[in-house]
């Protein structure tokens, strides 16, 4: 025990003097978690809280186009900027190229007329199918194939054109397109309803009924499915703090891996092998020392999430209710990170190998493990590859506690996987030590 204590003391002393290693292990992850969370929070706010600029060039003079623009405005998603009707497609293109906006809508001169024609056709078709005869069309609603299925009339123009900047992400463009369709639908529905009402009752649709029919939507209640039912919607902090804590833990490979190689290269291990103590004590000491480092990292990063984030305007980190579970999972994540670093240190021949391979492999394992890109958007092959990243299992266990409000029993499958990974890495390290004649 005295030998182990002396070795831990030596490792702590060496570690304290490794300034670059300390920066990699403590300063860099703390900055990383602050910067990445701030950036993601800004992006999230840009999309969810700020309105997206939308240029509208209305060449139409009818009521439907004005109503459409009002509806777009009331959606709350867009900051509408109208372009004078005299300016056409070329101006839209210029302004999009200048990034004054990412989206633009061009309403053609016959927009209102087309909406009116389309709703008239649909109303006629509806009245015909109700058995009320078609008082609107002399042909009994038979306006051709396009008319029958509600599409544009033959030879008719496309009602509106949506321009977008090519850098706009597909998913965002689809969302914007959906919102514009909703607005268009609302304008058409209003017109259709008025036409039908007038055809049946031979008087105008009352405003109160129109509002009730068109704006009284069924409410959608949003619920984040948490295990304890006590949590609000997860935010960037709840996602980022556990992820970057794990990244920081695994980044001990830079200090620990190169430390083992340095010990092998500077001849210390030669002397150690001639002394009456098993080299396993040296490896055990490093595991204990660096496990302490990983726990300190977790403590510091969680503390930043709880106390520093609110000060800089980021959401506060909500720690899981199951403290014992959090400590246990953190210990397992730390053990996993240290075991990986020990393996790298044992097999690397030079410090450059340990640093280069260690750092690069952690970035790759973090990427495929879902730390940088959410796992639910990964494709099939990557979802399979993800399971080979120890960081994925660590993250999954943390998310079970931080995002789902779970307890240790809820993440037992991750815990079991982590224990197996740790055992595997320790086995490889042991094999490496024997193969290299170190124990």
């Amino acid at each position: 025990m005295f030998k182990l204590r002396a070795t831990i003391l030596k490792d702590v002393r060496v570690l304290r003097r490794d300034k670059l290693g300390m920066i990699f292990m403590f300063v860099m992850p703390m900055l990383l978690v602050l910067i990445v969370t701030s950036m993601q929070s800004s992006t999230f706010e840009l999309v969810s809280k700020n309105k997206v600029p939308l240029l509208i060039c209305n060449k139409d003079t009818g009521a439907a186009s004005r109503q459409f623009i009002r509806t777009i405005d009331t959606l709350g998603l867009f900051a509408v900027q109208e372009i004078p009707a005299g300016q056409g497609e070329a101006v839209i293109r210029d302004r999009l190229h200048n990034k004054e906006a990412m989206l633009a809508v061009l309403l053609p001169a016959n927009f209102s007329a087309q909406v009116a024609a389309r709703t008239k056709r649909l109303a006629g078709k509806a009245l015909n199918s109700f058995g009320l005869g078609d008082s609107l069309n002399g042909d009994g609603g038979k306006t051709g194939a396009a008319g029958r299925d509600g599409g544009p009339a033959p030879g008719g123009d496309v009602p509106l054109t949506l321009f977008y900047h090519p850098v706009l992400q597909e998913s965002f463009r689809r969302s914007a397109e959906g919102a514009i369709y909703s607005a268009l639908q609302l304008v058409e529905s209003k017109q259709l309803l008025k036409t039908l009402y007038f055809s049946i009752n031979e008087k105008e649709l009352p405003d109160t009924l129109e509002n009730e029919l068109l704006t009284n939507r069924t409410a959608i209640s949003e619920v984040a499915v948490s295990r304890d039912g006590s949590r609000g919607a997860p935010n960037v902090t709840q996602h980022n703090v556990p992820a970057w804590t794990i990244f920081a833990m695994f980044f001990v490979v830079v200090s620990l891996g190169s430390g083992i190689v340095r010990e092998k290269l500077n001849g210390s291990s030669i002397r150690l092998k001639t002394l009456p103590t098993n080299y396993f004590v040296a490896i055990l000491s490093k595991q204990i020392t660096y496990l302490g480092v990983t726990m300190l990292q977790a403590l510091l990063i969680f503390a930043i999430g709880v106390w520093v984030f609110p000060v800089v305007g980021l959401p506060r980190l909500n720690l899981p209710g199951d403290w014992a579970g959090l400590v246990f999972v953190s210990l397992l994540c730390g053990c996993c990170a240290v075991s990986y670093a020990i393996c790298v240190g044992i097999f690397a021949e030079t410090e450059e190998q340990a640093n280069g391979f260690g750092a690069l492999s952690i970035v790759i394992l973090a990427a495929i493990g879902g730390l940088m890109v959410p796992d639910f958007i990964m494709t099939g092959a990557f979802r399979t590859a993800m399971k080979f990243s120890p960081l994925h299992w660590c993250l999954d266990a943390y998310y079970g506690l931080f995002l789902e409000g779970g307890k240790l029993k809820d993440v037992w499958s991750n815990v079991l996987s982590l224990i197996l990974i740790i055992a595997g890495l320790q086995g490889i390290a042991l094999w490496g030590l024997r193969r290299k004649n170190l124990i």
Binding site: F2, S268, R271, P276
Partner: protein, 247 residues
Amino acid sequence: MSPAMQIDDLSFGYPGQPGLFSHFNLEVGAGLRFGLFGPNGAGKTTLMNLMTGLLATDTGKIRLFGQEMQRHNRSVHSLFGFVPQELSFYQELSPVENLDFFGAWSGMAGPAIRRRTGELLDILGLADVRDKKVQHFSGGMKRRVNLAIGVIHRPPLLFLDEPTVGVDVQTRHAIIGYLRQLNEDGTTLIYTSHQLGEAEDLCDKVALIDQGRIVVHDDLGVLLSDHRQEGLEGLFLELTGKNYRNL
């Protein structure tokens, strides 16, 4: 009394160099200052690594004070100290911190380590830099730290692989003086070096090896007299030739 070190019928080879040693025998009596010399590639370092357990023999036995050398046999490893040619300690630590650690690994308890550390730092002239990081030391000071670590547990047998390489005259004089003192206190020395003048000062018995076999092995005085040589360098060149050794 058992010899300090005894090699019986040793065979050893590397994968690319089989049969480097074949049926090799050597004995070093307790209390001697024994010098092991030879040209580059003669097998000195390999033999040193075999004697200290860093390499395992293919066949044959190595015994230290009658105990067979085995890699993980703690009691046999307590019997010797090793001062490798490489500076084998932690440059980020001070001499005291290095001695704390290596003392514990040598099987000593805390109070004994502290006592011995103070004593060694005084003897080797490192007391005033005891708490400074070794990485800022001169080459000679680092060599003294390397030596202090090797002898912290007062081993009855000390292996020294070029202990004075790259040091100034003053440091060499101090180190050789301390090794003589250790020997007078009962420590057997097994020493290799290319500094033949220094070896003449220190060793009372020598073996000259070449290509894995012993060329001569006797008291230094007897060898010089038998071969009518005035110094070890002349004897060395007479017995191993003047050609380059590109090994």
